[in-house]
Subunit: 314 residues, 2 copies
Amino acid sequence: MTEPVVLAVDIGGTKIAAAVVDGDGRIVAEGRTPTLAQETPEVLWKALTDLLDEVHADAGRPSPAGVGVGCSGPMTWPDAEVSPLNIPAWRGFPLRRRLSERYPGLPVRVHNDAVCVAVGEHWRGAGRGHGNVLGMVVSTGVGGGLVLGGRLADGASGNAGHVGHIVVEPGGPPCPCGGRGCLEAVASGPSLLRWARGEGWRPDDPDATGADLAADALAGHRLAREAVRRAGRAVGVALASATHLCDLDTAVIGGGVSQVGAPLFDAVREALDVHARMDFARRLRVVPTALGQSSGLIGAAALVLAGDRYWTAG
Amino acid sequence: MTEPVVLAVDIGGTKIAAAVVDGDGRIVAEGRTPTLAQETPEVLWKALTDLLDEVHADAGRPSPAGVGVGCSGPMTWPDAEVSPLNIPAWRGFPLRRRLSERYPGLPVRVHNDAVCVAVGEHWRGAGRGHGNVLGMVVSTGVGGGLVLGGRLADGASGNAGHVGHIVVEPGGPPCPCGGRGCLEAVASGPSLLRWARGEGWRPDDPDATGADLAADALAGHRLAREAVRRAGRAVGVALASATHLCDLDTAVIGGGVSQVGAPLFDAVREALDVHARMDFARRLRVVPTALGQSSGLIGAAALVLAGDRYWTAG
């Protein structure tokens, strides 16, 4: 294990993952627990701290250099009073302050979970060595993080990277954000399912999920395939806009919807062929995430271990 | 005059402006000359250097600390071999090298003219004091520059800020860039005119320009007004995408088309009301440029005078 090590946490709507991560970005010990999203704030807090104690013990209780956390949004930033859409248990929960009280003297840094995926992939994954990278997660929602000039761009309030709300179809479907025609309203898992069902996709299982739709797409089912292509084209339109605005060299795509692979990525490239024609934009490299489920944990660790590049706040 | 001073140049398709700018961003002496866009490379070069000599003499020949230049794109960056679309005289013209040879020992810094407008407005204009600003020019084309975290974002090849190629209508009109449905294809002056004529706008003067269309819009002519509103809504859609991706606090809009004022800005805000609904995005401030015709010159000067913020290259 390469010193220093940090405690890293990734808090999502269904599970919390925690790990001890070493200075090279390697996971030394790791654990998971269900997110008790409907419980009281303190029950969820105890599940989190129990998990942290457990992975810390598993790693042999090394002395941590800090705590890095990715958490579903929204949150205030950098104070991290978190109100995750998918975790009703926490509304304005002072996550950073509570962790700072529990780990006195250590830096505690909290960021959006999709930002942590982008950071993890830039630090140790598919974006490594590239200076201008958009990392995105296409899943229940569509989120992301933006690295420009080798550093995380946070924007005015820590909200840079909301790629899911690039407008890809101004007259398109309503979006959970209150807007219309956002990428998320077209390409998220639930949006895909809604569109496919609306067009007549009838899986055997009435509770079929995005994974079932992906399986049908890979098996060549026409409507499922078209649903995935439609999502991919929307991602491509958003990437064309993003790369024209930010002159990206690399887009890294992860999240459940991206697991379908070629049918999605081919449609992304097809839309880029139409919409990203300027020389600099044609150079955009589009790749899947390289760290799998661990991107977010490794990115959370990087907020502390590589704070010069990924942490601009106090 | 506050030391140091720099020589600043703004090279566009119809005119070249040059100035001596002091350390506070004030123009000490200024001159203009037509861009001899169809002449030989050396004839245009001589017109530029004669103009520089003239304004330098007018300012009393102060010792300059460097030369800052904004030039129509495209160009290689930061070497600035320029091939401006609207200046056929220069194709791969080594502007930075030639200026460095003429001013040995002085820093010479060249950037896209719309980037210089954004920089000028951030340094001394409507974006002053704000950390995350998109400056844009809506004119014959639509260009811009991006300031994030208080510094100019250049992207992978100096091309960040191409806001005119954010996709606002994926099935929309073809764009000069080769793409489709870009902001520029909807909101540039020529695009506006084309749309208005297509819809039946019949000005008395067959050579009517964007300025005539703007005048008609202000006079309440229905088609002219709708043309301007359509452009404004497209700008608003692009700004919603940009602010979701980059978490901007301010958008500064200049250029000929923006001169029409309220009919355009009202439509921009109308589209933002529909498409920028998240709390952080609703805080976006949209304002006109404050430095008028001088933004580009003052921004060119800032490449040298405030290079820590606006010049990331060697």
